[in-house]
Symmetry: C2
Subunit: 253 residues, 2 copies
């Protein structure tokens, strides 16, 4: 089994390293920025290529982890590639490959990646989709060596997953950032709420979030809600977020 | 050292159990609902009292963990109590005790508690405040046996902390709940995004959240933002939350 990685961002980097760790050979790395391809290739004993024409057309799998809008452009340049081509995006449909290549699929890791932080791939849900059984089998063979959580998910459901992930991860991280802003403005350190953030995430590992909701909005504690709004009076944007989310919580009572 | 606990909710329960574990004697428990006082007292070898008049007036500390609005009412009934009286609320000022008792303070654990889930108290920031040095010393003596993170925080800063906690915990949990709603409506299980939630919280344990923001809004990926809005077209409330938070993230670019 030989894999080519297209891209050098967070997703490409983490997948490439994880493949390397389970001894699946990443033979080549391509990136829009050749320096970045070199950097990643160097870490996993692969070859950086500067031009998509140099791709090893006999590799088994080509994983595309570039910006959503550029997936189709990349695939157009891979017409000679004989193996399976798959992208790693949560929100791009399988259709993107139609009429561009023969055996194609999706290899979507439902996780948030940062370049400097290692993650344990064995717990990451890998959502697979393919245009035929043989292609799915290739994706499964790779995925099952990386993770215990391999799922077959069609494009429609994958888009839903991606949307849910925006709520549970991107928006959540932004709320952490807003909390940090509130603290900083008052000479308080983010460190003091880190244990709370950990516990909030831990609580829902064995419970559904609606059953463990706490805070003034779910208690309908209007005195506290008013006091908090007063504290935010000079930050209209944060005030709007406070009101919007508090009202949304109240409706679940 | 003997402590009386007023209340039998999540905060009262977890503090009482934690005190019991470090061998600080909880002698009595009072609650509006005597059955609940009995239940908690039974777990920590304490005595449940049905009437605040029965309070052990020679105990060293009385910790009040009732609803914010009811703290003053409880304190009024404790006029004969000789020890230190402290409440555990994030948003109630120290002033609540003024003219009602002599030695008073605040003992605020910055954490989210659920009845069925044990927490490790040693990592919970305990925010203390008192009206005199002797009272602060009593609170510190207790707090330092429970946690490594004991901080002196005045009422003004404590309110800020509480507000930040609403963003980082209560609102975050609600976003988990909205994610669950999206998944459920499409026959997908919450389990699939649990690893993502864990990693999102882990990422900010060693980084500031603004530096690890991911997702379509921070990438200014308008195609994906529009696709997500289309998926939410029939849920105007969730759509509003999606737009409000995405716009707020965009402004941090």
């Amino acid at each position: 089994m030989r894999v080519v990685i297209i891209g050098s961002g967070n997703v490409a980097t983490h997948i490439a390293k994880a493949l390397n760790q389970v001894n699946i050979k990443v033979s080549q790395v391509w990136s829009y920025h050749y320096e970045n391809a070199l950097l990643l290739a160097g870490q996993i004993d692969a070859i950086a290529i500067a031009d998509l024409n140099q791709i090893d057309i006999t590799a088994d799998l080509c994983l595309i982890a570039v910006k959503d809008d550029e997936i189709a452009n990349v695939v157009r340049e891979l017409s000679k590639f004989k193996g399976v081509i798959a992208h790693t995006s949560g929100s791009v449909s399988l259709d993107v490959f139609e009429n561009l290549t023969k055996n194609y699929g999706v290899f979507y890791p439902l996780q948030t990646f940062s370049k400097d932080k290692d993650v344990d791939f064995s717990n990451i849900p890998l959502c697979l989709e393919a245009n035929n059984h043989e292609t799915l089998a290739v994706l499964k063979e790779v995925a099952e060596q990386l993770s215990k959580k391999v799922e077959e998910i069609n494009s429609e459901k994958r888009k839903i997953l991606h949307l849910a992930a925006v709520f549970a991860c991107n928006f959540t991280n932004h709320l952490y950032a807003l909390a940090d802003e509130v603290l900083k403005a008052n000479q308080l350190d983010f460190d003091i709420i880190r244990p709370l953030i950990t516990e909030t995430a831990n609580k829902v590992q064995n419970a559904l979030p609606a059953t463990v909701q706490t805070g003034p909005a779910i208690r309908n504690d209007n005195n506290t809600l008013i006091k908090h709004e007063e504290l935010l009076i000079k930050q209209p944007e944060m005030l709007q977020i406070y009101r919007t989310l508090s009202n949304s919580i109240k409706k679940t009572r």
